[in-house]
Amino acid sequence: MENDLLGEIKAGVIAGKLGGMGGLTRGALEAGIPAGDIMNLGLIEAMSVVGERFENKEYFVPEVLVSARAMHESMQVLRPLLEESGVEPLARVAMGTVKGDLHDIGKDIVSIVLTGAGFEVESLGADVPSEKFVEAAAGGAGVVGMSSLLTTTRPRMAEVIGLLEERGLRDSVKVIIGGAAVTEAFAGEIGADGYGADAAQAVRLAKSLLEIR
């Protein structure tokens, strides 16, 4: 029974089933499945499958976005309960596109794949003032992820790292960058901890930097 309900939730997210995920989730809770199990064994396992399919080019951006939306429907029911139960994610990643740059999709896909890998993602959005990244680090994010698709905006990344140093936060957070405007060499130049060319690389990078197996 439990396995059936969890399986249905997992399948719903993988298939991007919209509209029914809240009901399925409430049904699982009523059947006595703990919220943490629904998240870890249902949602996160599903997003991990979605991430794999994305990497294997079986899924593309639209399919991933619809699965993420299905997951969010379920999370809306679970979130208040998870806060009570104190379920811990691997780490929190604060993710955003730097100030002056309105591109959303790339870093959102990275966020979704990170979620599937067990990270909690704090979404800062696009056109994010440098100060916001610093606040997220001060608020306990283990990783700050920055995206830039316009070379005119990439100096903002160095600015964020400078601000982190000024506030004495640089050693408590890992900084990873990505997007068409940046390169591995640029990451080295500004003193970021790493560069990811795609979502899968970003996950591997975050895990290795935090020494998560």
Binding site: G16, L18, K57, Y59, F60, V61, P62, E63, L65, V66, R69, K99, G100, D101, L102, D104, I105, D108, L150, T151, T152, T153, A180, A181, V182, T183, A185, F186
Partner: protein
């Protein structure tokens, strides 16, 4: 005449997309060049004098069509402009939009005027840009929303892309009339689609847009940024004169996908090599491409995407030296 028949045969054709380095070299700004015809013209003529490329493209602007449809655009940040918000998210709002008249809508007249002024002053062809139908539809509805609606509301997504293609047809027709020899159709947002979704939403509209450019006597080229390898078969079937491809792809796969009369343009890394590198690294990159494809009559050496304004002009010199 098709693009392949317009290419020079006495040397290796080289066509960098270098509008923004031109703007920087002229001491101008993106905003000035994209709002004042004289500034746009000055940047282009500076590039022509220094590089004399086989085709000189205008300064890239992916917001012209959206702005002509009433969307808000910002030049904040000093680089290429962006569309601020994407309010056309349902069929009612979509059906209220009319195809703008390029002679009097937004900044479209500027591009027509500059194309007319430049015409006849170039050693090579004149290239203009037109946004691709899926990318314009994504500016209208929002990129993530449109992506989701290809699955949840396919009728809306299809209508939005079809409408966007009509806008592109009107604008690109006017660009060719004004003097453009080549129209590069910029379809970056489509890189996120599966081959099946591309086939379902983009192939037909792109084919109509390309046919319109050709019926006016222009050469349609399709440009998609990023790793578009998974779409090569579909891109090759849109009836384009050429494909312009970004640095993450292997051009050998593209030559395999297209016919011998379809031109393949690319694909030096615009940031990692052209902007961050030096003339030597540019020359190494160019030589590697020439060694593999230099003998092919349908190869045009170019940049994978539009060059950043901070690209050193000496690096573009090094690329041009391949001729």
């Amino acid at each position: 005449m098709k693009l392949i028949d317009r290419l020079p045969t006495d040397h290796q054709p080289v066509v960098p997309l270098m509008g923004y380095p031109g703007v920087a070299a002229a001491g101008s700004t993106a905003k000035a060049a994209l709002t004042e015809p004289a500034a746009h013209l000055e940047s282009m003529m500076l590039l022509e004098k220094r590089f004399r490329p086989d085709a000189l493209f205008m300064i890239m602007d992916l917001t012209v069509e959206a702005e002509a449809l009433g969307l808000e655009v910002t030049f904040e940040g000093g680089g290429p402009p962006s569309v601020v918000s994407h309010p056309v998210d349902d069929s009612d709002k979509l059906t209220r939009l009319k195809v703008p008249d390029p002679r009097e809508s937004g900044r479209m007249p500027l591009f027509l005027e500059v194309a007319g002024s430049v015409k006849g002053k170039l050693s090579g062809m004149l290239g203009a840009y037109c946004i691709g139908p899926f990318t314009l539809a994504a500016e209208l509805a929002g990129p993530e929303d449109l992506a989701i609606k290809t699955i949840t509301e396919p009728d809306f997504a299809r209508a939005a892309v079809d409408f966007a293609a009509e806008v592109g047809c009107a604008y690109s027709r006017a660009l060719v009339e004004a003097g453009a020899d080549v129209v590069a159709i910029l379809e970056p947002t489509a890189v996120m689609l599966s081959p099946a979704t591309f086939e379902q939403f983009c192939a037909g509209p792109l084919e109509r847009l390309g046919a319109t450019v050709r019926s006016e006597g222009g050469c349609p080229v399709l440009h998609i940024c990023g790793d578009s390898t998974h779409l090569f078969a579909q891109m090759a079937s849109c009836g384009m004169d050429g494909l312009s491809l970004d640095h993450p792809v292997d051009l050998a796969d593209a030559f395999e996908a297209v016919g011998r009369d379809t031109v393949v343009i690319g694909n030096i890394d615009p940031v990692g090599v052209m902007m961050e590198g030096d003339p030597e690294s540019v020359w190494l990159g160019a030589s590697a491409l020439l060694a593999r494809f230099g003998g092919l009559p349908n190869f045009v050496l170019g940049t994978g995407c539009d060059l950043p304004g901070d690209t050193p002009l000496e690096n573009i010199d090094a690329l041009m030296a391949a001729r």
